[in-house]
């Protein structure tokens, strides 16, 4: 099986599985959906991962982390209850944080957990508690154009992975993809850099020297968002259109 065929098959399977998994108003087939999705993920793993006997532990860790991330992402997307979705999404975040750590991005791994899981997700849960109507609502139980969306996602993932693993042929006399030829010296440097105790300090130095303006802009953006969120909520409070909305909805 060539990689392209495998990718195509995996994408199709993933699409079907996602469609089956998505809430469809209680229609049966979620089990099949889970099965198809698992097979698709396996196929993707088969295409991507070539087990290196020397790094068996590392590969296992990666596979575990990736599987946690993807499976919890599937769960976050497909489960009906928003609260479950949020909790599965937290799992995804943890997986991603693990992946960041796996790549040596220590600060990012911790920051993701702190900012995302600790702040953003908690905000989500707060809002869910504030705004969750009684019972299981119909719009949670039915997805909009599930088949079409699933197909779109499947085609997208197929195309992306095809771009990565079966890159388009390049014309004669051109470099295939500059940078893919990694020289071992750089790799050694990288390893040393990642393991260095000053890793974080270097990141910070970069952040506040080369990207200082970006940091300032981001800070301003955060402030503006803060003010904006308060303003929006305050304005919404001032003009309650509850009754009107009830009739409307």
């Amino acid at each position: 099986m060539t990689p392209l065929q495998a990718i195509a098959a995996a994408s199709i399977l993933l699409g079907v599985g996602l469609w089956l998994l998505l809430p469809r108003g209680g229609a049966p087939g979620r089990g099949f959906g889970a099965l198809f999705s698992a097979i698709a993920l396996g196929l993707f793993a088969f295409v991507v991962v070539r087990i290196d006997p020397q790094h068996r532990v590392g590969d296992s860790v990666f596979l575990l982390l990736a599987a946690t991330t993807i499976v919890s992402a599937l769960g976050a997307v497909t489960l009906r209850s928003p609260v479950y979705c949020a909790i599965w999404f937290a799992m995804t975040l943890l997986g991603t944080a693990g992946l960041f750590l796996y790549q040596g991005a220590q600060f990012l791994g911790v920051a993701t957990v702190v900012v995302y899981a600790g702040a953003i997700l908690v905000t989500f849960l707060f809002v869910l508690m504030l705004a969750q109507p009684k019972g299981m609502t119909s719009y949670d139980r039915v997805s909009w154009e599930g088949m079409l969306s699933a197909a779109t996602g499947a085609v997208l993932v197929g195309l992306l992975s095809a771009l990565v693993f079966a890159p388009p042929p390049v014309a004669e006399g051109e470099q295939p993809l500059a940078g893919l030829n990694v020289d071992p010296v750089a790799a050694a440097d990288r390893e040393a850099e990642i393991l260095s105790p000053d890793h974080m300090a270097h990141l910070g130095g970069q952040l506040f020297s080369r990207y200082l303006i970006g940091v300032e802009v981001a800070g301003t953006l955060l402030l503006a968002a803060l003010v904006g969120a308060v303003a929006i909520v305050a304005q919404g409070k001032q003009q309650p259109r509850w009754e009107e909305g009830r009739q409307h909805g």
């Binding site: 996602l18 998505l22 809430p23 108003g25 209680g26 993707f44 295409v47 991507v48 991330t69 992402a73 997307v77 497909t78 928003p82 999404f89 991603t96 992946l99 790549q103 991005a105 600060f107 990012l108 900012v115 995302y116 905000t123 809002v127 504030l130 705004a131 969750q132 109507p133 719009y139 039915v142 997805s143 909009w144 779109t152 996602g153 993932v157 992306l160 992975s161 990694v182 790799a187 440097d189 850099e193 080369r210 990207y211 970006g214 981001a218 953006l221 955060l222 904006g228 969120a229 308060v230 929006i232 909520v233 304005q235 919404g236 259109r241 509850w242 909305g245 009830r246 409307h248 909805g249």
Partner: protein, 147 residues
Amino acid sequence: MDEVQLLHRFLMVGALLFSIGLVGFLSRRNMIVMFLAAEMMLQGISVSLVGWGRFHNDWGGQILVIFILAVAACEAGIALALVLMLFHQTGKLDVAVWQSIREANQPKFVDHQLPEETLPVEHWPTLPPAGVEPELPVEEMIHRSHV
């Protein structure tokens, strides 16, 4: 470890996360879940960026992810404020309620009605009766989740 192999793995994970998030964004109708899916797409991008950053031995990937974190925080704050306001207006989190920007004379999108599915009334454990068994505040319990 082979750096190209590593990059490929992370790109694959990023692509999967992005696509799954996309499917969720497109198909789920709960606005909060949609935002969760959008955050998931951002996570996919972040994973890819970190992978590329490592591959090129450049800080840019990580720095960009930090900015993504900041932007995601802003976005979440604003978006949740908006969602809250919209919910206050209609009492629903359904994104399909808001379709007033559609072309004039276009029929409103109405999904097929599902039978109402209520959660079973749960009896929460109470302290053992010290005297008379207290009357259960059924009304309040039913509306528990509605704050």
